[in-house]
């Protein structure tokens, strides 16, 4: 057990020193295991593991990581296939899930526990034990003082005790007064290291107990916390996705503010949340300010427009009528969207539209583009496809992509047909296919729902670690000894020394404070400090 806090070398020489790294010979398997354990829990190995951990974590900042950004990893594979294959083999695209990374931090934590537990035992014993015995020669310490006074030894002791106050634990021994303060330093050190274990446990628990889902909700519509209402959903192994705590969220209004030069200033989703117990409340979700729904946090992850479009087929029947979320692609909310119209009248071909919504459209020789994210002059530009949408194959499709394999794009000679729609307009589709109208322009909110019961443990552990760290770094641990020897001439010789664990710029002042009290006990005699 040679895991020592910084600066211990200035104190407790007896506690030093760990066995050297040389392997003992002829000790059998048990001896080897014990040797390995002692090595693992030694400060030197902990130090090496820390350096290794820093080194191992570094590549993840520079190579794209699959869990964080799978698209970037795919790009890397496409750009540099040979290098990427090697990086993949080494686990460099998923550093923090790689076995070698886990090996390092698990060894580090085993090492941490292996040395913090014996230290805890030692510290508990020290807390119960009386302060240390008084060393024989106090003058050998760098910080020491002597003084001769006319006061009696009892008077000196009383003065010293008063000066030491309640911070010090004081014991009267046959060889003098022994005082010690700053047990909190080691307590803090132990709390810090154990809290790190708490952090690790919380992060591990989060993996199995949490779930996360994304959903797009259009103004006026609702979202229920059930698997079917999520666009994407991932959960830990101990979460039952069919049994989520229910709540219903209705998006009443989605507001946004921008400066004239299209800088975002504020986004707010005004919602009504109905909980399972029948209570209902209005609330506002802002970026950075999630709200609570049945214990889960609801975040505002994005927003955009979902124009309400109505398509009538050749027979004049309404084949499609609903808001379609268009996903913003730039700062001006140039948004891309897809309309799939499978439910046309019998005998007609299915319709598909893809195109852009421009919130503030500017059309000139260079083409059409959006110049501001607010809907000052909305314009929708669509390509039209007819044929088979491929929805009946049973293969799940991305609602934001149009599978054009079984479809043909409508053209007018060489030119592709472009449908231009402003709000309230209804436009005839070519070839008598029907009409499409742009009825209104509600906004949508992209919501992120996350439930993670481990967060409290994580927060408490982190704060305890912080508190423990500050105590272990800045609480001074000091020992102070005072010996009063009655002289032949009726005077008392007072010797005192102080010793600190680690760097302690205040040590001399502490001793000086005590000596001032000693000097005050009687007329100043000869000073020989």
């Amino acid at each position: 057990m040679s895991y020592r806090p910084e600066g211990l070398r200035t104190m407790d020489d007896a506690e030093q020193e760990a066995p050297g790294p040389s392997a003992p010979a002829g000790i059998g398997l048990r001896g080897w295991l014990r040797w390995a354990w002692r090595q693992l829990t030694s400060m030197r190995v902990a130090l090496l593991l820390l350096m290794l951990l820093a080194l191992a974590a570094l590549p993840g900042a520079f190579f794209p990581q699959t869990p964080q950004d799978p698209a970037a990893v795919a790009r890397y594979h496409a750009d540099q296939p040979e290098l990427a294959a090697w990086l993949d083999r080494l686990g460099l695209f998923d550093v923090y899930g790689a076995p070698w990374f886990a090996a390092i931090y698990l060894l580090l934590f085993v090492s941490l526990i292996g040395c913090i537990l014996p230290r805890t035992r030692t510290h508990l014993a020290a807390l119960r034990a009386a302060p240390s015995r008084v060393p024989r020669r106090l003058t050998r310490f760098p910080v020491h003082a002597t003084h001769t006074t006319t006061a009696s030894a009892e008077e000196v002791t009383g003065a010293v005790r008063a000066a030491l106050g309640r911070r010090f634990r004081v014991a009267q021994t046959p060889h003098g007064l022994s005082a010690e303060r700053g047990y909190l330093r080691e307590t803090g050190n132990i709390v810090f290291h154990l809290s790190l274990v708490g952090v690790l446990i919380a992060l591990g628990a989060s993996q199995v107990l949490s779930y996360r889902g994304q959903a797009v909700v259009v103004e006026g519509r609702s979202f229920a916390n059930a698997l079917v209402d999520y666009d994407t959903f991932t959960s830990g192994s101990l979460v039952d996705p069919d049994d989520l705590e229910p709540f219903v969220l209705t998006l009443d209004e989605m507001t946004s503010e921008f400066t004239v030069d299209a800088q975002a200033r504020d986004f707010a989703a005004h919602v009504t949340v109905a909980e399972a117990d029948g209570t209902s409340r209005e609330d506002t979700i802002r970026v950075n300010y999630p709200i609570d729904g049945a214990g889960a946090n609801i975040y505002l992850a994005g927003n955009g427009f979902a124009p309400h479009l109505t398509v009538r087929d050749a027979d004049g029947e309404v084949a499609f009528s609903q808001p379609v979320p268009f996903l913003p692609e730039d700062d001006f909310y140039t948004s891309r969207g897809v309309v799939k119209v499978p439910d046309v009248s019998r005998g007609l071909e299915q319709l598909g539209f893809t195109g852009y919504l421009l919130p503030t459209a500017l059309v000139d020789d260079a083409g059409a583009r959006s110049v501001h994210p607010q809907p000052n002059a909305p314009l929708i530009i669509l390509d039209v496809y007819t044929g088979d949408l491929g929805l009946d194959d049973g293969v799940p499709q991305n609602v934001y992509e149009l599978d054009t394999e079984g479809m043909t794009q409508l053209t007018d000679g060489e030119e592709e047909v472009k449908i231009l729609l402003e709000p309230g307009e209804e436009v005839e589709l070519p070839d008598g296919l029907g009409t499409i109208s742009f009825d209104s322009l509600p906004r949508f909110a992209a919501l992120d729902v996350r439930y993670d019961p481990s967060l409290t443990v994580l927060l408490v552990s982190a704060l305890l670690a912080m508190a423990g760290l500050s105590a272990s770094l800045f609480v001074p641990r000091r020992r102070l000894w005072v010996r009063s020897t009655p002289g032949d001439d009726g005077r008392t010789v007072v010797e005192a020394a102080a010793l600190a664990r680690g760097d302690d710029p205040g040590l001399e002042q502490e001793l000086e404070r005590v000596m001032t009290a000693v000097r005050a006990t009687g007329p100043t005699a000869q000073e020989d400090t």
């Binding site: 070398r9 993840g60 900042a61 964080q68 970026v287 770094l473």
Partner: protein, 317 residues
């Protein structure tokens, strides 16, 4: 508002001019060691350097404050502002530690990088003062980022101290080697380098004289440790505050974003430094190298990760 932004920039230019003068003056002060030892010379250049550094810090502070007023928010919401704030912390810390110890020889090592960082800030990183994006509009911007700037500023001064410690350590070991034959003759134990008196008469060269002018390496090490300990605690706080903010903003406390990775790596590196100080054979010089490695990683985390990786912290730059 725009005028104040201009005033802020002017103040920063003024601070750079003052730091430039201070850098030259610190250089002259150092080069004087080439001709004579540190004893008994008035060090007029050092006095000028300290005065101009103080002036620089005052102008620098004016620049930071007016920038905040011009933008109508705390002045550390992008890389330009972050740079002018952490350099201010570094220069301020340098001035502050002079109260405990005469460390004017550290000046060149603090003022020169400060000047370089400010030059980079005004030439490459500069953007006009503006309001705050929704993504950054949070009280954690005030806490998380300000504490990060303080930590980096203090780490920087500690790193400068470590460099000086290594220089001093070198001269101490050289002195110990020279003294060894005499000690061997006297049959005494090898002397402690820290207590070695400068040898009079013998020509020790520039480095030797510089070493004589500095406090002992053990004391420099302790000073660097104290600063590193304070900065490490602030860094720990930055990490925790960042995780809390990430939980509010992105719905997860930790996501291995490149910036988070960098911050974590710096934290682990300084944790290694603190452990090294308590490990036999790793204290002193090796711990100083570890501390410098930590600061190198701080710089990588700031310049390389911010500018060359795809990070969700990206909107801050």
């Amino acid at each position: 508002m725009n005028d104040l932004g201009q005033l802020s920039l002017l103040a920063i230019y003024g601070a750079m001019a003052a730091y430039a003068v201070a850098m030259v003056a610190f250089g002259i002060d150092l080069s004087a060691l080439r001709d004579r030892g540190p004893e008994g010379r008035p060090r007029r250049a050092a006095a000028i350097a300290m005065t101009t550094t103080t002036l620089g810090v005052v102008l620098h502070a004016v620049g930071v404050v007016t920038r905040g007023i011009a933008a109508g928010r705390v002045p550390w919401a992008n890389m330009y502002e972050f740079t002018i704030v952490f350099t201010l912390v570094a220069a301020g810390t340098f001035l502050l530690i002079q109260r405990w110890r005469d460390l004017r020889y550290l000046g060149a090592l603090v003022v020169t990088p400060t000047l370089l960082a400010l030059g980079l800030a005004v030439s490459v990183l500069y953007i006009a003062a503006d309001g705050v994006r929704p993504a950054l509009d949070h009280y954690w911007l005030i806490i998380h980022v300000s504490v990060a700037t303080m930590a980096i500023g203090i780490f920087a001064v500690a790193a400068a101290l470590s460099v000086v410690q290594l220089v001093k350590d070198r001269s101490e070991r050289a002195a110990a080697v020279r003294r060894e034959p005499a000690v061997a003759l006297a049959g005494g134990p090898a002397g402690d380098g820290a207590t070695a008196l400068p040898e009079s008469g013998a020509d020790r060269g520039f480095w030797g004289r510089l070493g004589d002018a500095l406090p002992g390496s053990a004391e420099l090490e302790r000073l660097a440790y104290r600063l590193n300990a304070v900065a490490f605690l602030l860094w720990t706080f930055t990490l925790i505050a960042g995780a809390i903010w990430a939980e509010h903003a992105w719905g997860r406390p930790w996501g291995w974003d490149p910036k988070e990775v960098g911050t974590f790596v710096v934290w682990v590196a300084y944790a290694a430094y603190l452990h090294a100080r308590a490990t036999r054979g790793w204290d002193g010089r090796k711990a100083a190298y570890l501390g410098l490695t930590g600061f190198g990683l701080v710089l990588v985390n700031y310049f390389v990760v911010n500018l060359f990786t795809e990070t969700v912290h990206g909107y801050a730059f």
